[in-house]
């Protein structure tokens, strides 16, 4: 009984990624002695909020068998539009209106993606490359975006509001845990529930596994995909809003280029790039690993210009492992003669 449980654990991707995370923690702690300090841990979790939210969206798209590279441009555009409108009308209220606005803009832009992908059934990667260029062009060309140094008071307060403050006695540094971390926790909870217990969530997995079979089994493939891209647009825009609030100002181009890092995290977490397989836990663990690598290279004494290299290496290793697993599972299926070859 015990042995079986051990074997189950050892075959799980999440186990290995946790192992890597623990090893990395120990390595950083030995090198710098600053890893397990309260303020570093709080800093890490606050750095995780925005990538974590992005990762939830990217994860759902990848599980459905697609890939979305437009979400940073999408979020930048909807957050820029929201912030611009609110500063222009001299908005004084709380965070609620900005959140609603950004969700609406995000959902609309997501629907734009969804139209091409779900209705016209075009390849997601090429379409989202195109839409991301369109979103960037609208923001920088049509809206003539500039940096907005003074965002509305309500947004700034939300970004700086702290749940609690952690202190590093040794160095006298303090770090605040932002309230926004609650948004991430709620979002993870919701995503977990939707993916596991709702028809919509099961449809995402089914479509990613095999679109034709999902269609034959009675799932409305087009509608599910469309709703999925609308949701991803809204969630990504919310992440963008939180980032802007936490920074206290709006840099229009600051988020662009984040897509690779997020996708790398999701794939490192053992989510099958071909779709249909993967857990939210794995996706979050992968994102934690990426955020740790980004935040802790400095603690390890590695120059920052090595970051891109490590990121690329991580993506290749992560996707390689995931692809090899798919290959091995398929071979196992064939050798067990469990039905015909899939796909």
């Amino acid at each position: 009984m015990m042995g079986k449980k051990m074997k189950g654990l050892l075959s799980k991707h999440e186990f290995y990624i946790s192992l890597v995370i623990v090893l990395l923690c120990i390595m950083i702690e030995i090198r710098s002695g600053q890893f397990f300090t309260p303020n570093n841990l709080v800093d890490l979790s606050s750095a995780l909020i925005v990538p974590g939210l992005f990762a939830i969206g990217a994860f759902m798209v990848i599980v459905s068998g697609g890939i979305d590279v437009s979400f940073p441009a999408l979020a930048s555009l909807s957050v820029y539009a929201t912030t611009r409108i609110l500063t222009d009308i001299n908005y004084k209220g709380g965070i609620l209106l900005p959140i609603v606005m950004v969700l609406v803009f995000g959902a609309l832009l997501g629907a734009f993606n969804g139209f091409f992908i779900a209705k016209l059934k075009l390849p997601t990667m090429i379409i989202t490359l195109g839409t991301s260029s369109v979103f960037k062009g609208i923001m920088q060309g049509v809206l003539n975006s500039t940096q907005i140094p003074n965002i509305p008071e309500g947004m700034k307060n939300f970004g700086t509001a702290a749940l609690f403050v952690a202190k590093n006695e040794q160095l006298g540094l303090t770090s605040r845990m932002p309230v926004a971390v609650l948004v991430l926790i709620v979002a993870i909870g919701l995503a977990f529930f939707v993916l596991r217990y709702t028809m919509f969530g099961r449809a995402i997995y089914a479509i990613g596994g095999n679109e034709t079979s999902a269609y034959r089994a009675g799932f409305n493939v087009g509608r599910t995909k469309f709703i999925l891209y609308v949701i991803v647009g809204a969630v990504s825009s919310l992440a963008g809003l939180i980032r802007t609030c936490m920074m206290g100002q709006m840099h229009p181009t600051n988020m662009l280029g984040m897509e690779m890092m997020i996708i790398a995290g999701v794939v490192l977490g053992g989510v099958a790039i071909t779709g249909g397989d993967g857990t939210l836990t794995g996706c979050m663990l992968g994102t934690i690993l990426i955020v740790m690598v980004q935040n802790s290279l400095i603690l390890l004494g590695v120059p920052t210009y090595w970051q891109e290299f490590f990121l690329g290496a991580l993506i290749i290793v992560g996707t390689g492992i995931s692809a090899m697993q798919v290959l091995r599972n398929r071979k196992r299926l064939v050798s067990k003669k469990l039905g015909e070859e899939s796909s």
Binding site: F116, M260, E308, G312, I315
Partner: protein
Amino acid sequence: MNENKMSIRRKLNDFYGRDVYTSRLIIMLLVVLISMLILKPAKFFSFINFQTMVAQFPEFGLMSLGIMLCMITGGIDLSVVGVANLVSISSGIILKALVAADGSLPWYGILVSMICGIVIGLVAGVLNGILVAKFSIPPILATLGSYELFLGIGIILTKGKAISKLPMEYSSVIAGKLFGIIPVQLIIFVIMAGIISFLLSRTTYGTRIYMLGTNMKAAEFSGLDTTGLLIKTYALSGICSALGGLVMLANYNSARADYGAVYTLQCILIVVLGGVNPNGGKGRISGVVFSILVLQMLSSGLNMFPQISNFYKSLIWGCVLLIAMTLNYFSENRNRNN
């Protein structure tokens, strides 16, 4: 009279239906040429402008050829810009290292740096091919990851700065003009396009990659060495990108890890507009070359209006890509229904 009109219309329709991609490009070309004829005739239709245009497009034209090859096999190469920058950085470093004490470049300098660059491109391409063929990582992710990797190596080599103060000899040869008329960049592009065209239409390699792109599994079961073919294709794409990088080095007379970031999208746009099917198996080099020319004219035309900022270009490229994909969808549906 009426009948005659009908038959012309039918002929046009027939022609459009037979080769949708070329017809669409001809329409685009006519639209660009006519609007330039109305708006900026003297500036656009000048010898200098055409000379500049044919010197400009080889940069991304060479990269597009690489993406085309990969797309014919059903894959894609998103690392072309990364490879090109890595090659131009390392060739730049080699060039600087070869400069003699008196500041002059020895006669073999240009040749050595170019060969080194091409070898680096080849190695990068083989790496992509191994990731795609041996580890069966989806090409999109494998090449996005390797793009990041090559970008990272480029940043490490340059510490994030630009490599400049290159010996002038290199730039004056590669960005120079043969007989004072034909830009050398164009010659490099024509040679490479000729080689690829020969490979695609006259060799078994060409036939095989079309088969591979049409149906991977069928190609495998009919005894094709799919792994070898894929590695060769990505290696060829690496060489194309390396040549693109060498041209970039000459055009800018400097190298940096983040040059030409917009080229990725532009190259995919060119290849898709040129009638290459992203799912593989279909596409001709003539279509891609034609589409390179059309887009270069559009881009040069846009550059003549200072009020259109570069940011609008990103919007325009994106829109053209989306429209092209949508039109392809409808024309393919029509074919299927027929």
